[in-house]
C-alpha cells in the first residue's frame, strides 16, 4: 500500500524538483559599512508563479525586486527569475548568507546557505565642490606617529563625467621616505575613484607631500564603444599634506626592533612535539595581543636572542601571521642544531608603549625540550658555537641542491675577451687607405712608364744617321728635324724636343737650326733654288757637327 502511494506521489515530487532557488551576494560591491546587494535566482516552471511578497531570510520578511525573467528555450516551460535584495552593511570579515526562502506556486522553497567576505574599506563618494574634476588627498595616520607605525595614504578623485587621466603628480602614492606595504588598492564607485597605499614610517622627520594635481580629458563613448573627447581638459589640485614622524626615545633595549603599541602582551607556546632529534624542527606560536594595528608590529629577532645562536636555525621562509580578535599569532619554525639544547629559551619582546611613553619588555617563559642526538652512524655532532661567533648559524643541514636545469658553461680563454680580428668599426678605414694605395700605385706606374719611354728613345746621333740614310725627302726632313731638336735638347739649348722647329728661338744654335730648316722647307715647297738632297745632307751634317762641338 505504501508503495502504491509512493508511486502516485512521484509526479508531484518530479514537479517539485523543477523549482530551484539559489542566492548569492554580489561580489563587486562588498565594502564595509555599505549596504550589501545580492541576487536570488528562482528556476521554476512558467505555470508556477513566484510570490514576490513571500521572500524571507531567517524567518523575517525580505524585500526583493524583480530584475528580469528569462525563458530557458522555446521547447522548455522552465523560466529563470532573478530578484535583487539588499542587506545592512557590516564590518570587514567573513560571513554566512543564511538560506532565503520564497513561495512558488503556493509551496515554499529555500536556497542553501553560502559565505561571503567583506574586505574592502568603505568607499563613499562625497565631493566638496561642483567642479568637473576634484582631487582630495587621504592621509590617515596615527598622531603622533612613530617609526614602525603604519598609515594610509592616497587620493579620492571625483569626476562628473568619465574622464581619462593624462597627467598626474600624486606624491602621496609615491610616499618618499616611507616603506610601502603591499600594493595600491583601487576602489571605484559612481563618480569617484579612490586609490590608497598602506605605508610604514621608517625614520623620524617632517614629510611634506605635494601639492598634488591631475589633468584629465572628459570623454564619451558611442554605441559602438568608441571614445571621443568632449570639451576642454580639466585640472584638479590638492594642497600639500604634512606628516610628522616623531623620533623614538634613545636608549632602546637591545631587543627592541621597532614595535610600537599600547598595552601589548606577548607569549610563546610550542605547537610541535617536545621530543625530537638534532636536525628536526620545532614549531612555535608567538602571540602578540593588545590595542592598535598589530599587523604592523614585527616579531622579535630570534637569531640574536640569548640562547638561540648556534642552537637553532630559523627557516628561510618568513613567519606566517594569523589574525584573531585583538591579537596576532606568528608561526615560527626552528631547526635544532645541537643535542645540548634543553629548552626554547625565553624570548624578549620589547615595544614602545605610546600611553606610558617608555619602552616595555615582555619575556616569555622557557619551554623545555628533549633533544637526542641523530640516529644515523657517522652523523657528526655539531659543536656548540659561541654566541658572539654565531652571527650566521652553520648550514650543515641546509636544503639540499636539486638537479641542474641548464647545461654547463664554456671554459673561456683570452680570445673570448677580445674582439674578433677585423670585426670592429675601424675596418672602414680600409676605404681611405685603399684609395691612397691606388693613387700611389697609379703614380708609380706613370713614373715608371715615362722613365721607360725615355730609356727607349733614340739619341740625336742615331736620328741624324737615320735621316742621312733616308732618300725620300719628306721622311728625310722629318727625321732631320727630330735629330736637330733632340740634339738641342741634349745640349740644353731647349727644354724639350717635343716642339716644332718654327718654335725654336732665333738666337744661338737653336736660331741657326731654325734658319737652316726653314731654308730647306722653302727649297722644297716654294721652289726657291734647287733642292739637292745630297747637298742638303752634307750641309745638315756640317751644322750638326758644329752644334755638337759647341755643346761640348
Amino acid at each position: 500500500m505504501v508503495r502504491v502511494i509512493f508511486l502516485l506521489l512521484i509526479p508531484f515530487f518530479a514537479a517539485a524538483q523543477e523549482v530551484k532557488v539559489s542566492a548569492r551576494m554580489d561580489s563587486g560591491g562588498l565594502a564595509e559599512n555599505v549596504p550589501l546587494s545580492g541576487t536570488v535566482t528562482v528556476e521554476h516552471p512558467a505555470s508556477r508563479h513566484v510570490d514576490r511578497e513571500s521572500f524571507k531570510i531567517e524567518g523575517r520578511p525580505l524585500e526583493a525586486k524583480l530584475i528580469k525573467e528569462v525563458e530557458f528555450s522555446e521547447n522548455s516551460s522552465l523560466r529563470l527569475s532573478l530578484y535583487g535584495f539588499t542587506l545592512p552593511g557590516k564590518e570587514k570579515g567573513l560571513y554566512v548568507l543564511p538560506p532565503i526562502s520564497v513561495e512558488v506556486g503556493g509551496k515554499r522553497y529555500s536556497s542553501l546557505s553560502t559565505t561571503y567576505e567583506i574586505s574592502q574599506t568603505s568607499v563613499q563618494a562625497s565631493p566638496k565642490t561642483n567642479a568637473p574634476l576634484e582631487l582630495e588627498p587621504i592621509a590617515e595616520a596615527p598622531s603622533p606617529m612613530y617609526p614602525g607605525q603604519r598609515a594610509l595614504f592616497g587620493y579620492k578623485i571625483y569626476y562628473k563625467n568619465p574622464t581619462e587621466i593624462l597627467e598626474d603628480s600624486l606624491p602621496l602614492l609615491i610616499a618618499e621616505g616611507f616603506r610601502k606595504i603591499g600594493s595600491q588598492q583601487v576602489a571605484d564607485v559612481p563618480g569617484m575613484r579612490q586609490i590608497t597605499q598602506e605605508v610604514e614610517a621608517e625614520k623620524p622627520g617632517e614629510y611634506v607631500f605635494g601639492p598634488s594635481y591631475i589633468i584629465g580629458q572628459p570623454y564619451e563613448r558611442d554605441k559602438y564603444g568608441r571614445q571621443s573627447a568632449t570639451g576642454e581638459k580639466v585640472r584638479a589640485d590638492a594642497p600639500p599634506v604634512k606628516i610628522e614622524v616623531m623620533p623614538l626615545p634613545a636608549n632602546a633595549p637591545p631587543s627592541f626592533n621597532g614595535a610600537v603599541g599600547s598595552g601589548l602582551e606577548f607569549s610563546v607556546s610550542l605547537l610541535s612535539l617536545d621530543q625530537l632529534t638534532v636536525g628536526q624542527q620545532v614549531e612555535l606560536a608567538l602571540k602578540i595581543s593588545g590595542e592598535g594595528d598589530l599587523s604592523a608590529i614585527p616579531i622579535p629577532d630570534l637569531c640574536c636572542q640569548p640562547g638561540f645562536p648556534g642552537m637553532f636555525q630559523e627557516s628561510d621562509m618568513p613567519p606566517v601571521p594569523t589574525t584573531r580578535e585583538e591579537s596576532i599569532i606568528y608561526s615560527v619554525l626552528l631547526r635544532v642544531l645541537s643535542p645540548h639544547v634543553k629548552e626554547v629559551p625565553p624570548i624578549a619582546f620589547t615595544y614602545y608603549d605610546l600611553k606610558l611613553g617608555k619602552y616595555v619588555t615582555k619575556t616569555s617563559s622557557p619551554i623545555p625540550l628533549n633533544v637526542t642526538p641523530p640516529l644515523e652512524e657517522g652523523e657528526p655532532l655539531l659543536p656548540i658555537i659561541k654566541e658572539e661567533e654565531a652571527k650566521w648559524p652553520q648550514t650543515a643541514y641546509s636544503e639540499k641542491t636539486g638537479p641542474l636545469e641548464i647545461s654547463s658553461a664554456y671554459k673561456l680563454g683570452a680570445s673570448d675577451l677580445q674582439n674578433r680580428p677585423f670585426g670592429g668599426w675601424s675596418v672602414f678605414l680600409v676605404i681611405p687607405f685603399g684609395v691612397i694605395f691606388l693613387y700611389i700605385v697609379n703614380d708609380l706606374k706613370q713614373k715608371r712608364g715615362v722613365k721607360a719611354e725615355k730609356e727607349e728613345a733614340p739619341s740625336s746621333r742615331e736620328l741624324l744617321h737615320n735621316a742621312l740614310a733616308e732618300d725620300e725627302p719628306g721622311y728625310f726632313f722629318s727625321l732631320l728635324c727630330s735629330a736637330f731638336l733632340s740634339k738641342l735638347e741634349e745640349a740644353g739649348d731647349i727644354p724639350s724636343a717635343d716642339i716644332g722647329f718654327r718654335q725654336l728661338p732665333e738666337e744661338g744654335a737653336a736660331g741657326e737650326v731654325r734658319r737652316f730648316l726653314l731654308e730647306i722647307e722653302e727649297r722644297r715647297y716654294a721652289g726657291k733654288g734647287e733642292f739637292d738632297l745630297n747637298e742638303v745632307k752634307g750641309e745638315a751634317e756640317k751644322l750638326f757637327k758644329k752644334i755638337e762641338e759647341k755643346s761640348r
Binding site: 648550514t395 641546509s398 641542491t401 674578433r420
Partner: protein
C-alpha cells in the same frame, strides 16, 4: 729618396715590437688566471651539495666574469663570455638578467643552440610568451652577426683594392671582377651600418615599470600593468639626456620607460 736604416733604427723597431708583445702577454695572462678561477667556481657551484654553497660559488664566478667583461668589453667577440654570464644569472634565479645576456650571446653567435634553448627556458620561468618572428630581412641579419659582416666587408674591400691595383700595374681589364667584389663588400658594410644606425636597438626590461604616456613619472601610464621583467623591447628614441627611453613592446604598445629599468642588448 732611399730610406737608410741604421742599427739604432732597427734596435728601436725591435724594442717597440718586443714591448707590444710583452704588453699583450701581460694584459691577457692575468685574464687567463681569472678565467680559470671563474670556471673552477662555476664547476664548484654545479657540484655543491647545499643551496648556500652553490649560490656562493656561482656568485663568485659571476663577479669575476662581470669584472672581466667590464675591463675588456668584447662587444664584437665570440659571445661565449655573455653565455656564461647568462647561465650564472639563470642558476641564481635572476631571470631578467639571464634574458639580457642570452640575447647578447645570440647576437654574436646566432647558431648557438644551447643559448637559444636556455633563453626559451628562461622565458618559461618568467611566464613570457615567445616573441613573434622578426621580419625576414632582419632575421637574416640576425643570423649573420655584426662582427662577421664587418670582417667580410674588410676582406672584400681589401680584395677589391688589390684587384684594381693589379689592373693599374699590369694593364689588364679587371673592372667587372673588381665591381663584383666591391658590390659584395658594399652589401656587407651596408648591412653593418644598417644594423648600427637604422635598425632600432633592442633592450631587455630588468625591473617591472609602468609604461608611461610621456617621459616622466607624472604622466599617466599606458595601462595598469607594468612591463614584465625579461620583456624584450625596441628602443625608438632617447629623451631627457638618456633618462627616459621611448620603447615599443612586443604587443605593439608604445610608451616611455625610465633608463634604470632596462638595459640595451
Amino acid at each position: 729618396m732611399k730610406l737608410k736604416l741604421s742599427p739604432g733604427h732597427i734596435a728601436l723597431g725591435f724594442s717597440f715590437f718586443l714591448f707590444l708583445f710583452f704588453a699583450y702577454y701581460i694584459f691577457y695572462a692575468t685574464a687567463d688566471h681569472k678565467l680559470s678561477q671563474a670556471y673552477d667556481a662555476y664547476q664548484a657551484g654545479e657540484s655543491a651539495p647545499t643551496v648556500s654553497e652553490r649560490e656562493r660559488a656561482f656568485n663568485e664566478a659571476l663577479q669575476i666574469y662581470l669584472e672581466l667583461r667590464q675591463a675588456y668589453a668584447p662587444e664584437m667577440g665570440t659571445g661565449r663570455l655573455d653565455y656564461n654570464i647568462a647561465n650564472l644569472y639563470y642558476q641564481l634565479g635572476q631571470y631578467p638578467e639571464a634574458v639580457l645576456y642570452y640575447n647578447r650571446a645570440l647576437a654574436l653567435r646566432p647558431g648557438d643552440a644551447d643559448a637559444a634553448r636556455n633563453l626559451l627556458r628562461t622565458y618559461e620561468k618568467l611566464g613570457i610568451k615567445q616573441e613573434a618572428a622578426a621580419a625576414p630581412f632582419e632575421e637574416a641579419l640576425d643570423y649573420f652577426p655584426l662582427p662577421r659582416r664587418l670582417q667580410f666587408f674588410f676582406f672584400l674591400a681589401l680584395a677589391g683594392f688589390l684587384i684594381l691595383s693589379w689592373q693599374i700595374w699590369f694593364g689588364r681589364d679587371l673592372r667587372i671582377f673588381a665591381a663584383a667584389v666591391f658590390s659584395l663588400a658594399a652589401v656587407a658594410g651596408g648591412s653593418a651600418l644598417y644594423s648600427r644606425y637604422i635598425e632600432a636597438p633592442e633592450a631587455v626590461v630588468l625591473e617591472a615599470s609602468l609604461l608611461r604616456r610621456d617621459a616622466g613619472e607624472k604622466y599617466a601610464p599606458v595601462n595598469d600593468s607594468p612591463v614584465v621583467p625579461g620583456t624584450k623591447v625596441d628602443v625608438l628614441d632617447v629623451l631627457q639626456g638618456g633618462n627616459w627611453l621611448k620603447v615599443s613592446t612586443p604587443s605593439g604598445e608604445v610608451g616611455y620607460l625610465p633608463k634604470n629599468s632596462l638595459e640595451i642588448i
